[in-house]
């Protein structure tokens, strides 16, 4: 479904700040895979997601979605296939626009934007029902500006936006990291529910190893721009946090102690 083939990306090439973010990355996702991604800071997790989303061009390699080469496709054109939720709750929504308007924008992902009305009455009713499923009471304040919502509420809305028009691929970039633990758990459970109900192929970055084990059918660990560990199915289900830590220690020669992965 998604194929990342030998992808390289270096930031600030030729300067003192040169950083090889992706170093010959290879990854193939099957249809319906829910993959959790872990790895230390600077391992290239977010870079991988941004490369797939087309935020900037990659230096080398190929990215295919459903067999179609999207490597040279611009970000907004790739959006047709991809739903995204970001780490920063501010990033996924238009703060000065209403909840309903944000959803309407998302429901037109991948379609030509014409001079037809931006949000129809029928849509309004659909969104009302949809927001009810969040159980956050947002259905009663649909025309409120998204900027007035809390971080957790915004992430929930962004999640709906990313999946409103069923994407071929869902990219979740530490989307609960900026939330308090209770809210994070809620948003994560909601993500899991949406992914399963729609059978979405998903890449989810998390820095919480327990979550990485608990959710999804496959887990990958990244280090220095590559995948160094890839487990699925039964084997993944039986993983312990200590296994992951050990695994990481092996490859990173102990410089792992400084990493915030320890926190989880």
């Amino acid at each position: 479904m998604l194929e990342i083939k030998n992808v390289y990306k270096t930031f600030n090439a030729g300067t003192v700040n040169e950083k090889v973010a992706l170093n010959g990355l290879d990854l193939t996702l099957q249809d319906g895979d829910f993959v959790t991604v872990i790895g230390g800071n600077g391992a290239g997790k977010s870079t991988m997601l941004n490369a797939v989303a087309g935020v900037w061009p990659i230096d080398m390699g190929k990215i295919l979605i459903d067999g179609q080469d999207v490597t040279r496709l611009s970000e907004h054109k790739r959006a047709k296939y991809i739903g995204r939720v970001f780490q920063d709750p501010m990033m996924g929504t238009a703060a000065t626009m209403g909840i309903d308007e944000n959803l309407a924008l998302a429901s037109r992902r991948g379609m030509a934007r014409t001079l037809r009305t931006g949000i129809t009455k029928k849509e309004h009713e659909e969104y009302h029902e949809l927001l009810k499923t969040l159980e956050l009471g947002l259905e009663d304040r649909m025309t409120s500006k998204v900027g007035l919502l809390s971080g957790g509420q915004r992430q929930a809305v962004t999640l709906l936006m990313a999946t409103l028009k069923k994407p071929r691929l869902l990219l979740l970039d530490e989307h609960t990291a900026a939330l308090d633990p209770k809210t994070a758990a809620k948003v994560l459970a909601l993500s899991d529910k949406i992914v399963h109900e729609n059978h979405l192929t998903t890449l989810m970055i998390t820095h919480n190893m327990k979550d990485a084990i608990r959710y999804g059918n496959r887990l990958i660990m990244m280090y220095e721009g590559r995948i160094i560990y890839d487990v699925r199915g039964e084997e993944k289900a039986n993983l312990q946090v200590s296994d992951l830590l050990q695994r990481f220690e092996q490859v990173s020669d102990g410089d792992f102690a400084n990493d915030r992965m320890l926190l989880s």
């Binding site: 989303a53 037109r108 931006g118």
Partner: protein
């Protein structure tokens, strides 16, 4: 000081304020909707006036001339948009470049620095002379008010369409817009075009109103536009939340600006100082929201209550 002199000058001030309101609405679209400070407008205003006057002198109908002026504005906005999106130049610099180029273009359009048009010989839509002693439907204040009403209705419709919503999203959060499949570059170009089209339309009316187009007529107009936007918001943002009403408040801001301007002139203030005065007033108003954020405690809403998520 003769109070009647002031009273007599007020209708003229209102008419001018209304004509500049169209320009200010254009500024609102770039400054508030797209979040770009577009300096092209200083040149576009004159382009609009120049094209309109030259077309009319060539025997064109007044409406056709105004349309041609508006199209010239669309083109100027397009050029700035290309500078910014395709060539990657910062928006403020892109605008300055177009503005500079327009200086030459405007001179070439007019053939000289000032091109007059006689209200007695040509059938103008608006004029200084159409303020008093004309039937109401010919009165410049009435005519321009109708034009503004139509423009606000059109813009309200446009920014409610799929395309218009995309432009608003682009200005609000370009990352999110791209993630939702919106071509942000295209939308910025369209926004800049609409804005400059409006400014040129305003210039076309202004040239008719004062009876000439002048190479300097647009100088500093961005400041007047911003002043109108800011005054309108200061006066009405608490009561006007709807997009159409926000545009209306810009128009009100423009009229208030010219009324105050008239009062200042009436007080015999040295008119050479007026531009400096406008700049200082706008600077202070722009600083107020910044100071508010800096020197007051953050409100509960600003902290983003995570608890109720």
């Amino acid at each position: 000081m003769d109070i009647m002199a002031l009273v007599n000058a007020l209708p003229g001030a209102v008419a001018q304020g209304l004509i500049w309101a169209i320009m200010a609405i254009g500024v609102y679209i770039t400054y508030r909707v797209l979040d770009i400070a577009d300096l092209t407008v200083d040149g576009t205003l004159c382009t609009g006036g120049a094209v309109c006057v030259v077309c009319m002198l060539a025997g064109w109908n007044v409406w056709a001339s105004i349309l041609a002026a508006t199209c010239a504005g669309l083109l100027a906005g397009f050029v700035t948009g290309i500078f910014h999106t395709f060539m990657g130049i910062q928006p403020i610099l892109a605008g300055i470049l177009t503005q500079l180029a327009l200086w030459s273009v405007n001179l070439k359009i007019m053939g000289k620095a000032n091109q007059a048009i006689n209200v007695d010989k040509y059938d103008l839509l608006v004029s200084l002379r159409y303020i008093k002693d004309v039937p109401f439907y010919q009165n410049t204040i009435f005519v321009v008010a109708i034009v503004i009403a139509v423009l606000i209705a059109l813009l309200y419709w446009f920014f409610g369409t799929e395309l218009g919503c995309g432009i608003r999203a682009t200005g609000c959060n370009a990352n999110m817009a791209r993630a939702q499949g919106i071509n942000t570059n295209l939308n910025k170009v369209i926004g800049l075009m609409v804005s400059n089209g409006l400014v040129a339309l305003s210039g076309a009316l202004l040239a008719q109103y004062q009876g000439f187009a002048d190479i300097n007529m647009g100088r500093g107009s961005i400041v007047i536009g911003l002043a109108a936007v800011i005054i309108g918001e200061a006066l009405l943002s608490r009561v006007f939340h709807n997009f159409a009403l926000k545009l209306l408040s810009v128009a009100v801001g423009s009229i208030v600006y010219y009324l105050v301007y008239q009062v200042v002139i009436w007080c015999k203030v040295d008119t050479d100082l007026l531009k400096a005065f406008s700049a200082v007033v706008v600077a202070i108003f722009l600083a107020v929201p910044y100071w508010k954020r800096r020197f007051t405690k953050p409100t509960v809403a600003a902290k983003g209550g995570e608890k109720n998520a």
